[in-house]
């Protein structure tokens, strides 16, 4: 019976599964893989095949004032937004931890809302608000706007690492005579650190990638890397864009790997400590 091979475990079914999996993975990864080599093309066109390797487009970026300025702006704004979002986000995650505050669940949902509200809608509102507050076209204004979008990432990551802390550890420290501040500093904070760091990295990555709100609230002096990329994609596609994409991807992945590495290192150290004792 030919239909039998379509059943799970059958040859045709397994081939189908393999083909689908391969195609889906290709669809997911192809764009990421395809854009990277083009950063090193020596042609003026963003097409394959690459005629020869060259770093001329990184040179072009370095020599263009618009691009270097955009990179510096992205670092300034990203750092500022990360600091603001990490501080207020971490504090709030600590406050929400034991659900002592009335309407904790509702508050949490509202705190995550910036992730869902369409960026254009928030951009319009911010533009109107900033015009009245005198924050339009200022670094502070852009940093605040980005921090609003970054807060949910900090909140979610810190909350999940707080949730994984065994309350017995804190109780043990307290019963051994540690003051609440001491418990927080030597037990809770170190255990929550991977979550705080991950949140901060996601915050930075979010700021690095944000375009829409930046279009609304930033002036020409606050043009970020992402916004510069957006406007050049609209005008003319040159390999400089692939080079910029390369920089953005490397920045994000280095940061993510650093955090993953840090939490791995901490897990290892913890295990060592347990083995020693």
């Amino acid at each position: 019976m030919s239909g039998a091979s379509i059943r799970p475990g059958g040859v045709a079914f397994n081939t189908l599964r393999l083909a689908f999996g391969a195609l889906a993975v290709a669809f997911l990864l192809l764009p990421l893989v395809a854009i990277l080599p083009l950063a090193f093309t020596d042609s003026v066109f963003l097409v394959y095949p690459i005629t020869g390797p060259s770093t001329r487009w990184f040179g072009a970026l370095a020599q263009s004032q618009a691009w270097t300025r955009a990179i510096v702006n992205s670092l300034i704004i990203g750092t500022g937004a990360t600091v603001v979002a990490t501080v207020v986000g971490t504090l709030a995650a600590l406050g929400l931890r034991r659900e002592l505050v009335p309407f904790s669940g509702l508050l949490r949902s509202v705190f995550l809302l910036p992730m869902v509200v369409p960026a254009v809608v928030l951009g319009v509102g911010m533009q109107i608000l900033y015009a009245r507050m005198g924050l339009a076209s200022s670094y502070l204004g852009v940093i605040i706007a980005h921090a609003v979008l970054c807060v949910p990432f900090v909140l979610v990551n810190v909350a999940s690492s707080l949730a994984s802390i065994d309350p017995a550890l804190e109780r043990a420290a307290a019963s051994l005579g540690a003051s609440p501040v001491k418990v927080f500093r030597s037990v809770t904070l170190p255990l929550a650190m991977p979550g705080i760091l991950t949140g901060a990295v996601f915050a930075f990555a979010t700021s690095l990638d944000e375009v829409v709100i930046t279009l609304f609230v930033a002036g020409p002096n606050q043009t970020t890397l992402a916004r510069q990329m957006f406007s050049s994609l609209r005008e003319n596609i040159s390999p400089a864009i692939a080079a910029a994409a390369f920089i953005i991807m490397i920045l994000t992945f280095v940061l993510l790997l650093a955090v993953k590495g840090a939490s791995l290192y901490q897990a290892l150290r913890k295990r060592q400590r347990i083995e020693i004792s």
């Binding site: 990864l29 928030l122 109107i128």
Partner: protein, 389 residues
């Protein structure tokens, strides 16, 4: 200090921060949409005088005199310009009429009684006065109506705008259609993909999950740029199809709906896969063999066991993808043609292009409300967190 007070103090900074810089701007956007204040602000005396005019008879002399006084007053240029823009959107012609009248009344002596109809015959037309009256209330539904291609007629009835100007409904419909298409595409790829990832183990599962997470961590702009490169006429996809002889001339894959759907599906697919995977992984491993042992054919087992259990994940994934897709701006702006722009791009046009914040706010409200409602539904239904790390 009580634990509850301490917790409240810890949350307070974020409450204040988001209250000031998230909820307040949203509120301002909404209130700008319904504020009719610009004309009232520029013509305060006219606003009072016109309230007692019934709109059927020619405007009485005191009303005309009030308008003349307002036009003579030292109104800031910006405020005057805002009012002219608002009036002109109600009744074409104000853009030339008001500056010309203002010049004429200023040139005339203080004591002279100015007959507006001799300055410009348009003042003899009741339509202009009615537009002025309509623009006076502190709150107005004009922007909200205009956002759905409606307007108030001279006798205050709601009627559709001329078909030449009726574009907003079509764009809203298009936004919902594109978001639905992207959701369907994501479900069609995401459900089997999540099932595949849940059915294998070891390095295979890790590889499949990394394939989902890597794009999620990669910049949206980088991914959109990559699709621009891949889908061009002489891009990798067309080159490959031509090389294997499937096509002779390049398919047009970019700057049209195809490009928008491909790029948006790629961007949003991880948001579909992860919730489905999370709900599948929670299913006990022996459930499918049990169904088979009880005599269910594979398809039957899938339909009656696996699919119902995967349903919560599929539902929250679909809600998430649809909700996020509704507000998309960057990807359609870069990969779509003029006929593929979504509501966000119209809002951006009003806000940054013509500084018509009233219209931007009204359209924004029509985007904000469905998104918020979907978010509430999502929160009720789903325990999958919005952020995956």
């Amino acid at each position: 200090m009580s634990a509850r007070l301490r917790a409240t103090l810890l949350i307070l900074p974020l409450v204040v921060f988001l209250g000031l810089f998230f909820l307040w701007p949203l509120w301002m956007m909404v209130s700008t949409a319904v504020q009719g204040g610009t004309v009232r602000l520029a013509f305060p005396q006219t606003a009072i005088a016109i309230a007692s005019w019934n709109g059927n008879s020619p405007p009485p002399a005191p009303l005309q005199a009030a308008l003349v006084r307002d036009l003579r007053a030292d109104t800031p240029q910006e405020r005057f310009g805002d009012a002219v823009r608002t009036l002109n959107s109600q009744q074409a012609g104000f853009r030339t009429l008001l500056p010309r009248t203002a010049r004429a009344v200023r040139e005339a002596g203080e004591a002279d009684v100015v007959d507006l109809a001799t300055v410009d015959p348009r003042w003899g037309d009741l339509a202009y006065w009615l537009a002025l009256k309509r623009s006076m209330p502190a709150y107005t539904d004009a922007n909200l109506l205009a956002a759905v291609d409606l307007k108030r007629s001279d006798d205050a009835r709601i009627e559709p705008v001329e078909s030449d100007f009726a574009v907003n409904r079509a764009i809203m419909l298009r936004t919902f259609i594109i978001a639905a298409q992207v959701t369907l595409l994501c479900a069609a790829i995401g459900l089997p993909f999540a099932m595949l990832a849940a059915s294998v183990s070891g390095w295979k599962r890790n590889a499949l999950l990394i394939a989902v997470l890597l794009p999620l961590w990669t910049s949206l702009l980088v991914r959109t740029a990559a699709w621009l490169i891949l889908l061009q006429d002489n891009g990798l996809i067309n080159q490959t199809l031509r090389a294997i002889g499937l096509i002779d001339s390049p398919l047009s894959l970019i700057y049209n709906r195809t490009g928008v759907l491909i790029a948006m599906t790629h961007v949003l697919l991880p948001l579909m896969v992860l919730p489905i995977y999370a709900s599948l992984i929670a299913i006990p491993r022996n459930l499918m063999p049990a169904a088979a042992a009880l005599g269910a054919a594979p398809l039957q087992a899938f339909r009656h066991v696996l699919l119902p259990l995967a349903m919560p994940g599929l539902l929250s994934g679909s809600l998430l993808v649809f909700m996020v897709a509704l507000g998309y701006y960057i990807t359609p702006a870069l990969t779509g043609g003029a006929g593929d722009q979504m509501i966000s791009s119209v809002i951006a046009f009003y806000a940054t292009g013509t500084a018509n914040w009233g219209m931007a706010g009204a359209l924004g409200l029509f985007l904000l409300v469905p998104t918020t409602v979907l978010y509430i539904v999502y929160n009720r239904l789903s325990r999958t967190p919005l952020v995956q790390t």
